[in-house]
Point group: C2
Chain length 390, copies 2
């Protein structure tokens, strides 16, 4: 009945939405989402903070705010990105309604229909959808265990002259892989040599279970070619919808113009709560406190994978929320979904994370939203199902 | 240094941003913004509500939510639009991060570059910016005291075959005019006859100082051609960023896909607070309580205008936040801005609200953010300045 814009044509996403609807069914062990554990939320602390903020600064919080963000939060974000070796200032910081909004605003500011965006192959599904909504041509660059394949990246930059390269270097979604220090440095050099930009999406960086924090790609960026995105969704709460973009003010200015039309500004209440939580010092304690349970959940999932059939390959992430599985070639993880759901386990078939599809034998498993017991049970069910298919 | 997308070219908006920066200077009497009065914010009530919600439902509020919105709020919005004679259901309701987001999502879902959007001439500046960001061709339709000029609207629909007609029928921004009942009915008939859609933006509808509430354009819409936007910015708080779109589920589905990429969902905390405030009954009491001060502020502004020079024409709005002035033809309100600011009064030159500019002798005055005393003083300064120019 309605005639929609051409940009909407590739945006069905119905298959994946059907899967996400399953998240509401409490009888299903869901490895499908990317939800943090509800047990990790600091509800009581945020209740106190929000009441105090509204009582003491209600006039300011409830009024219109600057599109660039709540001024105190633009400052305190610096504390959070310092551990990634990024020096941010308020002028280089735009507060976002979740870090995904940064993907949207950056793309809208820079991409004409038909322009090429390079991305990791596989990559975050939401980013693929956003890039498509601006009619970009997506070119995937293969992943290796230590991050993107650099030779392939260079070749793709040379061939396609992309507007930018989109990367999730730390605990990548969906693979869980982390880009090595050396590759981080080299990616910046390549961007410089081939005159392109980098969108560094780092929503998981705060959630590391082992190993040392690596400097962000942005920390090697002397030529202001990197826009760095952070999120508070995994470290405080996704329901508050607060993230930030850190980069050159000229890029942020265009993103700010687009944000003006998008939502004028992010909820002041959400922003002020996040700011107060950081400034109180509770934020950094809280992040330390949520790691042990996640570490145990990841361990339970990796243990379950040990007894999967020969020919199964999987990642061992040092942080984040996801493990990535390649099953023996004859298994079609998408076709297997219905049976898995009948047996009360859900996951996301890996094919959805590839701009060009294929890779039917892959799947993504989330461990943050299930208890170790649920993970043990769910992994046993999956193992059984896969064995039946061999 | 950076190459931006073509869509960004017409989006400078620097003149207007310079004006809005003045809002931070407390020594200036600002008639420029659209801020509600801070005295009107129910800070204490919302402090209690937010603390209680986070204590009792923290797990749900702080978790990811549905893109469509907080389920209880999708229900309770029905109470708010009922007074505009709209029957809404959760399935016909999408919660927005402020009603402006509805303009963005509707445009992105429907408009290809070069498509025509009809709008009132003058109209909301933010909407003009958003329409331009999707490279629409904007065609303005003249305003009359009782709303858009219907003959001109029909002619424009016939000639341009627009994707939709954007209208703010109640206490229009910037003119303050309200579309008559008869015109509301006719606009729907025209949309039906010329096979186009209507985006009905109604952020001010709740703030009426005299006269009777009129049914929304959407209430006459048997053929599902109208998307209705509401806002809680003027009735509770703009800082929370909560609005809603009410319309056909097929349209909302595409807007929801675009919202998924835009911000995943609106802050659950903001949504839950607005919902609880409506359900407690406090919302409706609160709206009644904020009207008398606004009515007094409007009266002060209209009184100031009575002594403006002959040849000044202005609107007498029944609600909303703005009065619209046409000065004698030889006055250039844009050129006069610098002097006005030197004398500590700010406003928005009317030319910015016209897609094609011109109309240099017009200006928009806001009365909601100033006390009657400030308004009296500011209007005397403006009168003096204008008289000096004659």
């Amino acid at each position: 009945m309605y005639g929609f814009a051409e940009r909407m044509a590739p945006l069905n996403g119905s298959a994946i939405r059907e899967i996400f609807k399953l998240l509401g069914d409490k009888s299903i062990i869901s490895f499908a989402g990317g939800n943090p554990s509800e047990a990790s939320f600091p509800s009581e602390e945020l209740a106190e903070i929000s009441a105090q903020l509204l009582r003491e600064q209600g006039g300011r919080i409830l009024q219109y705010g600057a599109t660039e963000g709540w001024a105190p939060l633009r400052e305190s974000v610096a504390q959070v990105v310092a551990e990634r070796s990024i020096r941010s200032t308020p002028e280089r910081t735009l507060i976002l309604t979740g870090s995904s909004q940064g993907i949207e605003l950056f793309t809208k500011s820079l991409v004409n229909p038909g322009d090429v965006i390079l991305c990791e192959d596989p990559t975050f599904l939401g980013a693929i959808q956003t890039f498509r909504s601006y009619q970009a041509k997506l070119v995937g660059v293969p992943m290796e265990a230590d991050g993107v394949d650099l030779a392939a990246l260079e070749e793709a930059m040379k061939t396609h002259k992309p507007t930018f390269f989109y990367t999730i270097p730390t605990f990548q979604n969906p693979t869980g892989c982390t880009m090595s220090m050396e590759k981080r440095r080299r990616v910046v050099e390549l961007a410089q040599r081939y005159d392109t930009l980098i969108l560094e999406d780092d929503p998981y960086g705060g959630v590391r279970y082992e190993g040392k924090t690596l400097p962000a790609i942005a920390s090697f960026d002397a030529a202001d070619r990197v826009m760095h995105l952070i999120s508070f969704s995994k470290t405080i709460s996704p329901g508050l919808r607060v993230g930030a973009a850190i980069g050159h003010p000229d890029l942020l200015r265009k993103m700010t113009i687009n944000k003006q039309g998008a939502d004028t500004h992010t909820s002041n209440l959400s922003q002020a709560v996040v700011d107060a939580y950081i400034r109180s010092g509770q934020y950094f304690e809280h992040v330390q406190a949520i790691l042990p349970p996640y570490r145990a959940q990841l361990a339970a999932m990796l243990k379950g994978l040990e007894s999967f059939p020969a020919g199964t390959v999987y990642t061992r992430p040092e942080g984040g929320l996801f493990v990535w599985i390649e099953l023996p070639e004859q298994i079609d993880a998408q076709a297997m979904m219905d049976e898995a759901v009948q047996r009360k386990v859900a996951y996301v078939p890996g094919t959805f994370f590839y701009p060009d599809g294929g890779h039917k034998n892959t799947l993504r498993l989330n461990f943050s939203a299930s208890t170790p017991e649920q993970i043990e049970r769910g992994m046993a069910i999956l193992k059984q199902l896969i064995e039946e298919k061999l």
